[in-house]
Symmetry: C2
Subunit: 221 residues, 2 copies
């Protein structure tokens, strides 16, 4: 766990907290669900304050959307992968066999639990420092002018503004076992001759990826 | 504003923050919407940590429900009334005439904005102290055994367990002007001969109040 603490930039005074944060309920008790509840709240609060300070002009609704983008499961799972969190998770046998250590929901939940553990271990400011560091590259990529809208919403609004029909989403394939599936979705805008593909760990994530690709294709036209 | 600061138990270093927190968007800019976004996140985080420490046995879902109960609009508006917040609000003329200073949504939003202002003025721990004091009597009333379920859900589960039909809710009257309405709802369980009334500032709040009263009548039988 020393490597993980170095990656997080936080040395735990109480190592039991970190161990609990890494323990999935399929493994043993005490597991990380309560810490996840706490960490989710700390994360939302820290991100709210970072966005508040950074975007002095954004209104409440836009701040909410930016935050939802930053703390969504896919983003957190990516951060968790950057920390190699999967190598440290304590999973039950079933989860282990089905590849739970790379499932986005398990990774994102464990990251939130770690944030909760740091908050209990050393307080709000310690948690804030870690969150700021972990999210720094995501924070830098934020574009206040896109209002933080998710790609499906942005695509729909783009098409409505051009009086085009709404895009059609279709599931092309699913891969992998029940608990670690990958979805491939097509987003088609027939009237504009656009077909875009997206892959994700949920149907919703794949649709968002497809919409993002469609927007990219449309903005290149 | 000195009286309000005394009631809050926080003296502002930057009084502009408090003034902004008390300014409704109908009055002038800068108003309190962004502070409300921030304060809502701080409040959720502080309440999460209070519940986490206090209820060591509750699972994530129950902690979430307890929190939702504590930070719901009606509860916050009640706390705001205890602070006589309505006397300090800066409202536009229309809101003033329609009684905005006692509308639950405006009071609850202003309270959240004040929490955001304290967080900016003096940090997380200062905001936590104020929140702990303001919510102390609500916190004491919490009953972990009721799982924090809202009354409508609790009533429905109670009736299902007894194989009774679901309750019927009916709107009896509305009072007041468009923006400051009061709703009166009847909750009827014909099979058990129960009729309970509830009043609230929204249809939903009145239904919850009626369900709470119905539960009270049923538990007395």
């Amino acid at each position: 766990m020393g490597r993980l603490e170095t990656a997080l930039g936080h040395q735990f005074g109480n190592a039991d907290l970190l161990r609990q944060a890494l323990t999935h309920r399929s493994h043993s008790s005490p597991h990380n669900e309560r810490l996840e509840f706490l960490g989710d709240a700390v994360l939302n609060c820290v991100v709210a304050s970072l966005l508040y300070r950074r975007f002095g002009d954004l209104r409440e609704g836009d701040l909410s959307r930016q935050r939802a983008n930053l703390v969504r499961q896919e983003a957190l799972a990516q951060v968790a992968q950057g920390l190699s969190l999967g190598d440290h998770l304590r999973l039950g046998e079933g989860e282990l066999k089905s590849g739970g250590f790379r499932r986005p929901s398990i990774l994102a939940d464990a990251l939130e639990a770690i944030i909760g553990a740091i908050f209990l271990d050393a307080g709000f400011d310690a948690a804030r420092s870690v969150i700021e560091r972990l999210l720094s590259s995501l924070l830098e990529q934020l574009d206040p002018s896109d209002s933080g809208k998710d790609p499906k919403t942005a695509l729909q609004e783009f098409l409505q503004a051009q009086r085009q029909p709404l895009p059609q989403y279709a599931l092309l394939t699913t891969r992998g076992e029940a608990h670690a599936q990958e979805f491939e979705i097509e987003c088609a805008i027939a009237s504009l001759g656009v077909r875009a593909l997206g892959i994700g760990s949920s149907r919703r994530a794949a649709e968002q990826a497809a919409a993002r690709e469609a927007l990219r294709l449309l903005s290149g036209k």
